[in-house]
Symmetry: C2
Subunit: 380 residues, 2 copies
């Protein structure tokens, strides 16, 4: 099987190396930008790959929605299998690409787009065939977990922890998609699509960690909890789905043992019970290993993981939880306060009575619109 | 697809129920002992199943090596697919059954035999196709984990914890295979067979938890560690394999978060890094869910997980570790003592210098032959 690669960054280079080392696989051309074209095997025009009849499969590892999405469509239309690690692109075009792949009887897999080296989507696509998957959840972003872990364990400020993550290569130059929770949300969105054939909308309840302070961590630590950024998804009783991302105070849960930039991803099957997978959610070789698994899967006839008829749908986040909130004293009136944890410098931190996810996110949005700060986290 | 079941105990009954509830699957006859033959769908002679041309697949959930093994051979020879949850039987006959299945182009899967609801063997059989699996390890026995957790958290004695496990249905009437570590060893043996095509011998370095006392747990707890029973396997540098079971003192590892009767199972891929799976290692529905996954897998064309040419081989447990040992003072002379932890009533507990797994297990065997007690555990 001859394989072309689009992009020669962290993941693309790892994939290229691994294809070279793997028996039965052969490297084809690698698409790069003109300025990066330094090797014989590199090309700068996608047409060289599309028109190369000897290329059986294309790995897209460019990142970004476009031109990656258009290239991927052309790859499938040219009758080649497609494997991608690009979550933003699959969130946008995955359903359409799956349709094309199905009609052409070509493979389209994207394991590396959710969980990196952790085989989450693969296990979901297997488990849902013989079990009813009730819910999904996980720590799906290594950058934010590294920051939270550093703040918790070393007492670092948010800024210090972010700087350390950047220095170690765990955070990109522009980490906003990570910090805002959007990266985690795109991943749970893909997990919902694979599991339920329903893909939530991007304009959802997504809360990141930008507003967490060292003081918050201190207060939370004193009560015996740790903060983790958790993506959740699942089935509501009426058959609709829920999907959201928010920080969570973990007292005893497994998520607490997820250190540094590791990921964990769980599903709860009606029969299997809770299954949790831990591993490296990013990095060259872990991510490339997920791409290689997909390539091997296609070679063995596993062509798809996006269910037929998958549709984009709204999500309903109506489940209720208690929340930890830290806000200005004046804003606390908007909450049913169950227990005050700390008052300090005009701010107050407290636990709320149970309220829906939607309510909580809306309240925070309103407070921020008025120019004031708030941090909140669900309570385990 | 019509499916017959051999055995109607915990697992067999769960499988039967789940088949009834699953679209596309149909229940066939269930083999039981004459005394248990209470329903129309039950038969007491395997020939009714072997000669029933409408049965496509047989699930063996009888337990025990015989007659299960002979029945399984006959099932495959009769041209039917085979799925089993029976680790003792697969450890004995798995290689032979895989050969027959391969020749007849029939499916033979046994996911439920290792990890219960945790899809460990499935993930190993996928991961090894595109990665080099360097090592395997895990908590593969829920009964012993429940006992260790109860001793650690509640200060129970071994006997109290065992009684509680029995009362809750987490330990069988005769728990000796669990307590001795043999159940864990059979499971890591299957993981080695699936991953490396080499199946270790049963007469190996297997240490259970029978000799652990509440005093030991107290001493270990004071130092900040917890005891877990860990099964290990992997590749030696010379291409031979290692495989052993022994208690381990965990200070920080993930295994520490495995509570009650849960399992965890890890593999380290050269590219993927460490991947860990957590979940319920036993119980009716978790185990039956693994059987159902195998059935679905066979329906979709995944016929085998035992590699072609898999062979039984000796294992070489030459890696070195430090050990925690508690023994009679007179026996401590046989060890290079690095640090004494406690002296009490003629016994001493200490940490040894690094020594090989084989040496440690041999020393303990010798001491027990002379009628004296010893407990030991590797140090993380």
């Amino acid at each position: 099987m001859k394989i072309a690669v689009l992009g020669y960054g962290t993941v693309g280079k790892g994939v290229y190396e691994m294809i070279m080392r793997t028996e039965g696989l052969e490297t084809g051309p690698v698409l790069v930008l003109p300025a990066e074209c330094t090797e014989d095997f590199m090309v700068t025009d996608i047409r060289y790959i599309l028109e190369d009849g000897s290329v059986d499969l294309v790995v897209e590892a460019m990142g970004g929605v476009e031109p990656a999405g258009s290239f991927c469509r052309d790859v499938l239309l040219a009758g080649k299998h497609l494997v991608t690690s690009n979550k933003a692109m699959v969130a946008e075009y995955g359903i359409e690409l799956a349709e094309i792949a199905r009609k052409r009887e070509k493979g389209f897999l994207f394991s590396a787009a959710c969980g990196g080296g952790v085989p989450y989507l693969h296990n979901l696509s297997i488990a849902k065939e013989s079990d009813r998957i009730l819910s999904l959840s996980g720590i799906l972003n290594g950058t934010t977990n590294f920051i939270l872990d550093a703040m918790q364990e070393n007492g670092s400020s948010f800024e210090e922890a972010l700087a350390e993550a950047k220095a170690l290569g765990y955070a990109e130059a522009d980490p906003s998609a990570d910090l805002s929770g959007m990266d985690s949300f795109r991943k749970i969105l893909l997990a919902c699509a694979v599991t339920y054939g329903k893909q939530p909308c991007l304009a959802a309840d997504v809360e990141g960690i930008c507003d967490l302070t060292a003081d918050d961590v201190e207060v939370i630590k004193e009560r015996g909890a740790a903060v983790r950024l958790i993506a959740s998804g699942g089935l509501n009783d009426d058959g609709s789905i829920y999907a959201f991302v928010e920080p969570k105070l973990i007292f005893k849960g497994m998520e607490r043992s997820v250190r540094r930039n590791f990921n964990c991803a769980s599903y709860k099957g009606e029969n299997s019970g809770l299954i949790t997978l831990f591993g490296q959610g990013a990095g060259r070789y872990p991510t490339a290993s997920a791409v290689l698994r997909d390539i091997t899967g296609i070679a063995e006839g596993k062509l798809g993981m996006m269910p037929e008829g998958c549709e984009k749908t709204g999500e309903i986040n109506g489940s209720v939880q208690n929340y930890f909130v830290r806000c200005m004293s004046e804003d606390s009136n908007g909450f049913h306060v169950k227990e005050v944890w700390k008052k300090h410098n005009g701010t107050v931190s407290f636990i709320t009575d149970a309220q829906t996810v939607e309510e909580m996110h809306k309240k925070a949005e309103q407070i921020r619109k008025e120019g004031r700060r708030i941090f909140f986290a669900a309570v385990e």
